[in-house]
Symmetry: C2
Amino acid sequence: MSDSRIKRIRELIRDIPDFPKPGIVFKDITPLLSDADAFRSSIALLSEEFGDKAIDTVVGIESRGFIFGAALALNMHKPFVPVRKPGKLPSATYRIDYDLEYGSDALEIHKDAFLKGARVLLVDDLLATGGTARATAELISKAGGTVAAIAFLVELTFLDGAKNLKYFKPYSLIKF
Amino acid sequence: MSDSRIKRIRELIRDIPDFPKPGIVFKDITPLLSDADAFRSSIALLSEEFGDKAIDTVVGIESRGFIFGAALALNMHKPFVPVRKPGKLPSATYRIDYDLEYGSDALEIHKDAFLKGARVLLVDDLLATGGTARATAELISKAGGTVAAIAFLVELTFLDGAKNLKYFKPYSLIKF
């Protein structure tokens, strides 16, 4: 039953109050990673969700998106493409700058990350406001890919990030 | 044959001259990640190497170590523990500061990352001087773990990093 697996995964995401700053409750996924069965379940459930979506490539966002993205790519037997902080990818890149609640940030992808028209599954651990995923979706388009789906392990529904990504119908395994 | 798989993996690691600075030839593993068969082979070969070593937990070093570490943990059906840059792990941590060729750096691990005596497989993508892996081994000991093995995808043999880690008999899938 996927229900009991999801219940177990949810139990393994712990609240850390006042991180990274006072008043914020951080969802810590490290207890989930520390449970081999539950980690495997989370990857299996995501693979099942997207198994029939004709995915060519999995893209993961640095850093925690690498954990779920790489494991998912391995499990689905798809290529893995990292989207990284500026200056980290060694070959020619496309770059996107985007606004955060406080300040701004930037991400890069290799120009030769995939073939034109590749159907991409974008993966990150957490959907908060959706700003990072939205910027990454734009970056994937710049590099010639099509965002076929966006998947998160955890969604903070009160931040309404899914609305920000509604064009992509984002999927989240666990919602808080 | 593992020889033909290793040959293929080696072919997919490309040289990027003058990155991150003039005179340095960077080993770029993204073409390997972009080949689903070769990425799977690399994880399978590492799993075979450590399958009989009584590993309890896989530790990966941020960020590229997350890619291989998480995939390897999934494949070996072991827990995954991330070692991160300071300020990223939300719960109580141990920290280690260590010297680099120019300047210094620091890493953290959750204090509750594993049970006392856990046998740890430490994974990173690249063995250069070995300074980061050595610091991480110390961090694993602080957290009560035992470093049972250290694995790299790629080793730059001319930097002699294996000597720096000789107590741990590090293993590298590909040597340049």
